[in-house]
């Protein structure tokens, strides 16, 4: 029965398809027009906002004429979001009084409303942007709202919240480390360290607590913090970490001991050397080499002659060159009983030094 379709039916089907295509084209054109209008508005608004910011930076409040058009637009939500975005970006471009002016614009136009609205969104990146905006604009008054996000499951969000805490509260802002269970990425650790300018004298107690954390990244971060601020009084606590189960922590502990070096550090490291895996032994070698302590010569000589691994032997040979024991090395390499492999390692160390 389907084979008997009249020309009239075919025409109706054709008209139906044509109608659908036309509707589709109409929808598409409307969308393109809408997008075009939005982007045109955005461009116009961008120019308007940039002029507003530039004028605010250059002219005093009294010198500026009132801008009714701007004030009218500043009541529209999309305009306000763009204004906020531009203000945050511009605060990073200027220093001095210009920064204060930008912050004053943020306050004058109550743009914290938009930033706080972002904290209520479900999308992690929007929450992160909201926190960032409040941080850049130094809105410390909203710390209670920001601190809620310290335990948020998205790293994007909790990292912004951590950064805000440290920016606003300095060392005290690190209290989230007391019970932090996620990993603090290397990038975030550096960001937090960079934002910390000083640490108080009573910072030792919390730092010792963090060194005992079960979270490896918290311990690593604390070791970096102690290095940056040269907290010598925690030396023994750092030394205890040389027996930690995590190799990463042990590596950081060696670096920290080097940074907090005292007269016994060389002895501590050489005593502990035999208990460590090769990776750590190499780090200890580097640390001892940098200490430039002649007492290490015998230790390096022993490692050069007896350690089974070539990379450790090479590190020992290079350290001896660095300590000025070149004649010793030449004597060993000249000894006909020395194995060829050992001679090659010594020549390599001497060659690198000579280059």
């Amino acid at each position: 029965m389907f084979l008997y379709v009249s020309i009239h039916d075919l025409f109706l089907i054709f008209l139906g398809i044509l109608f659908l295509v036309l509707v589709l084209i109409g929808v598409l054109l409307s969308y393109v027009l809408y997008q075009h209008t939005v982007s045109r508005h955005m461009r116009e608004w961008s120019v308007m906002i940039e002029n507003k910011i530039a004028d605010a930076i250059v002219y005093s409040h009294e010198e500026r004429s009132s801008d009714e058009m701007f004030d009218l637009y500043s009541k529209k939500s999309p305009f306000r979001y763009l204004f906020l975005e531009k203000l945050v970006a511009s605060k990073k471009k200027f220093s001095g009084s210009a920064q204060q002016t930008i912050q004053q614009l943020f306050i004058d136009y109550n743009l914290q409303i938009e930033a706080l609205q972002k904290l209520k969104k479900k999308k992690a990146h929007l929450i992160a942007v909201g926190i960032q905006e409040l941080t850049v604009m130094e809105m410390a008054v909203y710390l209670p709202q920001i601190s809620v996000f310290l335990k948020y499951p998205s790293s994007q969000v909790y990292q912004e919240a951590q950064y805000a805490m440290v920016v606003f509260k300095g060392f005290d802002g690190l209290s989230f480390l007391n019970e932090f269970s996620y990993t603090i990425s290397d990038w975030q650790q550096l960001r937090l360290l960079r934002s910390l300018k000083t640490i108080p004298e009573d910072s030792i107690a919390p730092a010792i607590g963090w060194l005992k954390s079960r979270n490896t990244s918290v311990v690593v971060f604390t070791l970096r913090l102690l290095r940056k601020f040269q907290v010598f009084s925690v030396y023994e606590h750092v030394r205890e970490l040389l027996t930690h189960t995590s190799i990463d922590i042990r590596l950081q502990a060696v670096r920290t001991l080097q940074s907090l070096e005292n007269i016994d550090t060389v002895t501590h490291l050489t005593d502990d050397y035999g208990n460590q895996p090769a990776e750590l032994q190499l780090q200890i070698m580097k640390t001892l080499k940098r200490s430039d302590d002649k007492r290490c010569c015998d230790f390096f000589r022993f490692q050069l002659l007896n350690h089974p691994r070539a990379d450790v032997k090479l590190a020992a040979a290079e350290a001896l060159v660095s300590l000025g024991a070149k004649d010793d090395l030449l004597a060993i390499s000249g000894d006909k009983t020395s194995p060829d492999r050992l001679v090659q390692i010594i020549k390599h160390a001497l060659g690198e030094r000579l280059c």
Partner: protein, 118 residues
């Protein structure tokens, strides 16, 4: 006094332009390196403020173009943090001064006044 600004960041460009106009300078604005080189060639500018990273020709290329024709116009370079090697290169090429972003527009004016006293 005629000052040329070469900067592709619209907000920084406008802020410097407005600040210079307020201080009574005449200003030429350019948004890319090639345009800046052309304008410097065609006009007698007294000072150039140039960003280092710009489309078509960098700030150091603008500087080289100025110095290659033997013109001794003072040039203030604007650079971002972490461009130390580029800044050193700019000084080798004869940059008069530089400022690191984020920068203070007020301080920029002071540096201009030091280089071209009215």
């Amino acid at each position: 006094m005629l000052i040329l600004i070469a900067e592709d960041d619209e907000l920084i460009l406008k802020t410097i332009e407005h600040k210079l106009l307020k201080e009574g300078y005449e200003v030429i604005v350019t948004r890319n390196g090639k345009d800046a080189i052309d304008r410097i060639r065609d006009t007698n500018v007294d000072l150039v403020i140039s960003d280092i990273m710009m489309p078509f020709a960098s700030g150091t290329e603008i500087l080289s173009a100025i110095r290659s024709v033997g013109r001794n116009i003072p040039v203030i370079m604007l650079s971002s943090l972490g461009q130390e090697d580029v800044v050193l290169n700019a000084f080798d090429l004869g940059a008069s001064d530089f400022m690191v972003k984020p920068f203070s527009p007020t301080e920029l004016i002071l540096r201009i006044k030091r280089l071209i006293p009215k």
